[in-house]
């Protein structure tokens, strides 16, 4: 009989207790898996953003303050040989909604010429690229939004803006994209928006900021020189009427996500609480089991098994409990999130999935938790004096 068999037999001895413990471990571990899925989804989004090598130039004070479109030429002129910059694309927030539908998604107008380059990850190419250039009201939409609203390619759709002058515009969908940073986003041509803005300005005799934009996105060539370029841009516009603040895309979204209720921190707190709860539950079970088996442990010691061997046995039992509990809790969560991703809408995050990596990390953490959970009885086993324990009546 090896120690593994002994551990298994010990666990099966009080089946009710083992089952209750496993349930009390599995539920928190399911939550833990969910929490790490959220965390991972976020990290993935940041990593994807970082790979795209985009720098966002916004007005120094706030994203909602507009910058002139002419700034694009000035940024391009800073690098005439194009050793740092691939292209610059200006975008303007449209804030479109489908009338009478409760579904919010980001909709933005982008420079027609550079959008396909700066946002190459959205995959405008071939026919869709030709259509984008051909139709002034061309638009590209992410798969999440298209599915939600039942939209297809080549369809005409209408959006009503929630920002002044509250334009209603009709668009021709040239592509439904499943790649790219944000699977919920809706992009269309900025020249189309500006025409409509100018018309509204003429009709109403007031300014709605035509020709002005929220962000200039710079597609960079070299990741290592992005920070330097960002600083250079901010210096270029310092002490002008339009001072800027330049950040890379992942910092940009991190700030945004933090504002939506600081999910990263919340997830961390929840994970910590869950970890502590699991330690308590397992520690309790282990100490109960150890107390009942004090005499047996004493017999093992009397037979010549060293204290360290018995301690190891206790830790092994704790490990097995936690791992089985973790498996029961995390595998279903993993399968559910893998095949039925949870739809959310927090900035660039639109669905929560779970990768095998996140599952692996969950098991590693479970294994780490098992050690403190078995620590007290393991220490008692180490210190147990066989003669005293044998003399004691249970």
């Amino acid at each position: 009989m090896n120690s593994f068999t002994l551990v298994r037999k010990n666990l099966l001895r009080n089946k009710l207790r083992t089952v209750l413990t496993l349930a009390a471990v599995a539920l928190p571990m399911a939550m833990f898996a969910g929490a790490s899925a959220v965390r991972q989804t976020m990290d993935d989004a940041f990593a994807r953003a970082a790979r795209e090598l985009r720098l966002g130039v916004i007005q120094k004070v706030s994203l909602i303050n507009l910058l002139p479109q002419s700034m694009r030429r000035e940024i391009e002129a800073m690098d005439p040989a194009r050793t740092l910059i691939t292209a610059v694309c200006a975008v303007r927030w449209f804030g479109g909604q489908v009338p009478d539908v409760q579904y919010a998604f980001p909709s933005l107008a982008a420079d027609a010429d550079t959008f396909p380059i700066v946002y190459s990850d959205y995959g405008l190419e071939g026919r869709s690229l030709a259509d984008w250039h051909k139709y002034k009201n061309a638009a590209i939409v992410g798969i999440t939004t298209a599915q939600r609203l039942g939209w297809n390619e080549d369809q005409e759709v209408e959006l009503k803006s929630t920002v002044p002058p509250y334009l209603s515009l009709r668009f021709r969908l040239v592509k439904v994209t499943s790649t790219g940073m944000n699977p919920a986003v809706f992009y269309f041509r900025r020249d189309y928006l500006d025409d409509a803005l100018e018309e509204a300005e003429k009709k109403q005799g007031r300014s709605y900021g035509s020709g002005r934009v929220n962000i200039h996105w710079i597609k960079c060539r070299d990741a290592s020189r992005m920070t330097e370029l960002g600083e250079k841009v901010d210096r270029r516009f310092a002490n002008t009427p339009d001072e800027t603040k330049t950040q890379d895309e992942s910092t940009f979204f991190a700030s945004f996500i933090k504002a939506m209720g600081d999910i990263p921190t919340t997830v961390q707190y929840i994970s910590a609480a869950v970890g502590i709860a699991v330690v308590m539950v397992v520690a309790n079970t282990m100490s109960l089991g150890f107390r009942e088996r004090t005499r047996e442990t004493a017999v093992l010691r009397a037979l010549g098994f060293p204290g360290s061997w018995v301690s190891r046995l206790v830790i092994l039992e704790s490990l097995m409990l936690v791992m089985i509990g973790a498996t029961i809790g995390m595998i279903p969560t993993y399968l559910v999130l893998r095949y039925l991703p949870l739809a959310i809408s927090v900035g660039p995050l639109t669905r929560i999935t779970m990768s095998p990596d996140a599952l692996g990390v969950g098991f590693v953490i479970a294994a780490v938790i098992a050690v403190p959970a078995g620590a007290v009885p393991a220490y008692q086993a180490l210190r147990l004096r066989a003669a005293d324990a044998l003399r004691k009546v249970a």
């Binding site: 009080n14 009710l16 207790r17 209750l20 413990t21 349930a23 009390a24 471990v25 539920l27 928190p28 399911a30 939550m31 007005q59 120094k60 004070v61 706030s62 994203l63 909602i64 303050n65 804030g95 909604q97 409760q102 919010a104 009503k160 803006s161 929630t162 920002v163 002044p164 509250y166 007031r206 300014s207 009427p241 339009d242 001072e243 910092t251 991190a254 700030s255 933090k258 504002a259 939506m260 209720g261 600081d262 929840i270 609480a273 869950v274 502590i276 709860a277 308590m280 539950v281 520690a283 309790n284 079970t285 100490s287 109960l288 107390r291 009942e292 959310i344 809408s345 007290v376």
Partner: protein, 390 residues
């Protein structure tokens, strides 16, 4: 005859480690539960107390929030002619990017900045300046570039203490001095910075107002007022202040949904943990229980005794968990509150008597739920077999 309570607590005291761990487990769950419900309740409280039953919020047609609405002078004049109004305030709402206290990551929050007039204090009756200059003084002294800040904003963001200097305006280089701190019964306004309307419009290059709040002469007159606002002579969007703020909380719903899911999971797990401990207690005392039965204690008194023992565990765990959550009331959190807007609302955790009572109830429910089956097993102990056992 009932078993004395001392029997229970002495038993708990004998198994120090198990008792301690179970109590700690319950305490963790109750703490998490209290924290989450305090957060949820704090958020609801903030959004609820803001609304005044007689107020109508007026926005441009098509706008979803004050921050994306724009009203012209003519529209305000038409509004002021509204029948059955007691007061009306046209305001401008914009945002300032401020750093959270103690945040070193370089991120910022979009704090609402409201340009107000004397009428604003008339329509937002709950707003009271509690520190610094009085509201009257503030309104009268437009020569100074000063602002009033809400209690929540002052707590959450850097540099908003009285006498502090902040930079506002389109380019963020117009300096204002914090002249006072106001409260609004804990409502949304406490997350804002209030400046004199003409100053705010000037430094943010605004030519239009954002929204107007019209106070009806009575809550009953609200309907007629909304009909007038939406009618042919004005053609704006009007809604009761309550409806407006409820719409602004849409984005917080997934967060609440998630919180409740977590609470249910944690609660069930804690129930299992308590049951586990109680089963062990019962199993270890089979002979003792049989003895008690033999000397004449009824099944019922054994059952009650074990339930009480479990309740003691849960009570101590609950008290510890609640006690640990009480300091949370000094914490605050900001979150984007709004539908297609980016402005932050500051919430404080509401660790009030109602929340604590709910948490303690949950602790006791856990205690009972976890003990029912073990206690039944104890009560059903077969006397003769158990006594004969070695």
């Amino acid at each position: 005859m009932a078993l004395p309570l001392s029997y229970n607590w002495k038993n708990l005291a004998v198994r120090k480690v198990s008792t301690g761990l179970t109590v700690a487990g319950v305490a963790v769950v109750i703490f998490v539960f209290t924290a989450l419900s305090a957060f949820v309740s704090g958020m609801e409280r903030t959004l609820r107390v803001t609304a005044d039953a007689a107020n109508v919020t007026v926005l441009k047609q098509g706008a979803t929030a004050e921050s994306n609405s724009a009203l012209t002078n003519e529209e305000i004049i038409a509004l002021e002619a509204a029948p059955g109004r007691a007061a009306a305030a046209a305001e401008v709402v914009t945002i300032a990017a401020l750093t959270r206290k103690g945040d070193k990551t370089g991120s910022w929050a979009n704090v609402p900045v409201r340009g107000v007039t004397a009428e604003s204090f008339a329509v937002h009756g709950r707003v009271r300046v509690v520190e610094g200059v009085s509201a009257e003084q503030f309104i009268a002294d437009t020569g100074k570039w000063s602002v009033l800040v809400g209690r929540g904003a002052a707590r959450q963001y850097e540099g908003l203490e009285i006498g502090g200097k902040i930079r506002l305006g389109f380019a963020g280089n117009d300096e204002f001095t914090v002249a006072g701190i106001f409260e609004a019964g804990g409502g949304v306004f406490e997350s804002e910075i209030w400046g004199y309307r003409s100053h705010i419009m000037q430094v943010y290059n605004r030519r239009m107002y954002s929204s107007a709040t019209v106070k009806a002469s009575s809550p009953e007159a609200v309907k007629a007022l909304i009909a007038y606002v939406e009618g042919p002579s004005v053609q704006l969007t009007g809604m009761s202040e309550k409806d407006y703020f409820e719409k602004q909380t849409e984005s917080t719903k997934p967060f609440l949904f998630l919180s409740y899911g977590l609470l249910i999971f944690m609660g069930i797990a804690a129930g299992f943990a308590v049951a586990n401990n109680m089963f062990a207690m019962v199993a270890g005392r089979m002979r003792e229980i049989a003895m008690l039965r033999a000397v004449g204690f009824s099944k019922r008194s054994i059952l009650v005794s074990f339930l009480i023992e479990s309740l003691m565990l849960a009570l101590v765990g609950g008290v510890l968990g609640c006690a640990a959550a009480i300091p949370l009331q000094f914490m605050s959190q900001d979150m984007i509150g709004g539908n297609n807007t980016f402005t932050a609302v500051v919430f404080t955790f509401d660790v009030g008597p109602r929340i604590l009572a709910t948490s303690m109830t949950l602790a006791l429910v856990l205690g009972v739920a976890g003990a029912v089956f073990p206690a039944l097993r104890a009560a059903r102990t077969p006397v003769v077999t158990a006594l004969r056992q070695v």
